[in-house]
Amino acid sequence: MASLVHRNITQAIPDAVRITRLNRTFDGRRVIEGLDLSIAAGEFVVLLGASGCGKSTLLRILGDLDRDFDGEVEVPARRAVAFQAPRLMPWKKVWRNVTLGLPRADRQLAERALAEVGLSHRADVWPKVLSGGEAQRASLARALVREPELLLLDEPFAALDALTRIKAQALVAELWQRHGCAVLLVTHDVEEAALLADRVLVMKDGVIAHEHRIDLPRPRDVADPAIARLRGRFLDWLGVHH
């Protein structure tokens, strides 16, 4: 027992992501330049940046969707991505979408994952009948059903209406606490960053230009003045004068 406690104190939390000297160019234009970053296991990191700053490229590299980079990138074998568009296969019923890529189509597993995102009643419908929020939740269920150690979220709330977005953000916070996976959420919504992140990174000119750790308790409230202050600071960093 004593040794366990001792280990917790002395040993740092292991990394879920380790990136060193990462470069990525598009036709000679450097989008990511000598980027270093590590994300601890279970940490919720939000990556902010203006459009075209390379944040989505970084996420694609971590998701193994872009291999034209150089540098060192280490990620867990078990990882999942949820994109801005839900990207459900339209020809598969919702529950089959959830089990895609698993060794076998396990109905019970799918139902449990769908129940977690409040979609139990939608297991047997075609994706075309889902609302935008439902489709995005199905996409989250599909990501989480494989118990990822790293969850990559590429602006997953950007296409949702304001009300649905608030609910979806709360759902992600809750799911993250339950599953304990590391999360990298890419967004340009500063409020979202302040509400969800353990650590906020602001990307600019291909590197991490600013970094901020948020130790506020959860669940966080938009009305909290501390959140408003963070929001202002992030906007400053992004070069938006308010």
């Binding site: 991505v81 994109f83 339209p90 020809w91 890529g101």
Partner: protein, 276 residues
């Protein structure tokens, strides 16, 4: 100070009407009006002598001949033979077309090897190959089936290939992030994604299969609808010729109906425009 909405002239309002329920039967009836009208006109022209029987038999005569041909069993036998030819040709041609399309669609090597020759051969009119087919395969069943196979292979090839290459790249990416291997990707993403196009190809192939059948059955046939037509020609039996034409049309229609049913069940997932 009170803020008031400034006065504007009244805009013209139009009443939007709900679509209401259109009865399927009523719509079917409406669709039948055109053909029925055409038939009536034809019958009238025959009865008044405007359309002589040696040019075109009256619809009533055609119905009578059809009844006669069915009574002797000639028509059924002919249909069975022709149907067999179409099915055999379609199976062979369709099989080859789909196989080549999958090869060309899935791999770049396959594309380089298969696509260029297929695109070249596609432009050769199939009917122009009849002399060669006769030299190679004689005048039995083989050249007839080969002609149908040739005609059906291309539409299936082109549409299945286009379907495979048209699969949404974002879905392929999503599949990759789910850890799908190549085989799973093909089975769960690429082939289902190509299905709408494949069915278009299938429908088109069925259409040209009948066309090829008509040409094929001109090659020294001793049975089948084409044979029935050829003998009718010898005796100027325009009624029998029309019966055969109607049979061709009905078979085509029946097959189209089957494909529609197939589409409805296989493509139930597709959100698409269904017409107004």
């Amino acid at each position: 100070m009170t803020l008031m909405t400034p006065f504007r002239p009244a805009p013209d309002l139009v009443r939007l009407r709900p679509a209401g329920t259109r009865h399927g039967a009523a719509r079917g009836l409406r669709r039948a009006i055109g053909p029925v009208l055409l038939l009536a006109l034809w019958q009238l022209a025959s009865m008044t002598g405007v359309l002589p029987a040696e040019v075109l038999a009256a619809p009533s005569t055609v119905v009578g001949s059809a009844a006669g041909l069915i009574g002797t069993g000639e028509l059924q036998a002919a249909i069975a033979v022709s149907l067999q030819r179409v099915l055999a040709g379609l199976a062979i041609g369709g099989g080859i077309g789909v196989l080549l399309a999958v090869t060309a669609g899935l791999t770049r090597l396959g594309e380089d090897l298969v696509d260029a020759p297929m695109q070249m051969l596609r432009t050769v009119p199939n009917v122009a190959l009849i002399p060669l087919l006769i030299i190679w395969l004689g005048i039995g069943e083989a050249p007839k089936i080969a002609l149908i196979a040739l005609a059906t292979a291309f539409p299936l090839y082109i549409n299945v290939y286009a379907g495979i290459r048209g699969v949404d790249q974002t879905l392929v990416e999503a599949a990759r992030t789910l850890g799908m291997g190549r085989a799973a990707l093909v089975r769960h993403v690429i082939l289902p994604g190509a299905l709408p196009n494949a069915l278009v190809g299938f429908r088109y192939a069925l259409g040209v299969a009948w066309l090829a059948l008509v040409f094929g059955e001109q090659i020294n046939a001793t049975a089948g609808i084409g044979y029935l037509m050829a003998t009718a020609r010898e005796f100027f039996q325009t009624d029998v010729i029309v019966v055969c034409l109607v049979v061709y049309a009905l078979l085509g229609l029946a097959v189209d109906f089957i494909v529609r049913l197939l589409e409805r069940s296989l493509l139930a997932w597709r959100p698409s425009f269904t017409g107004t």
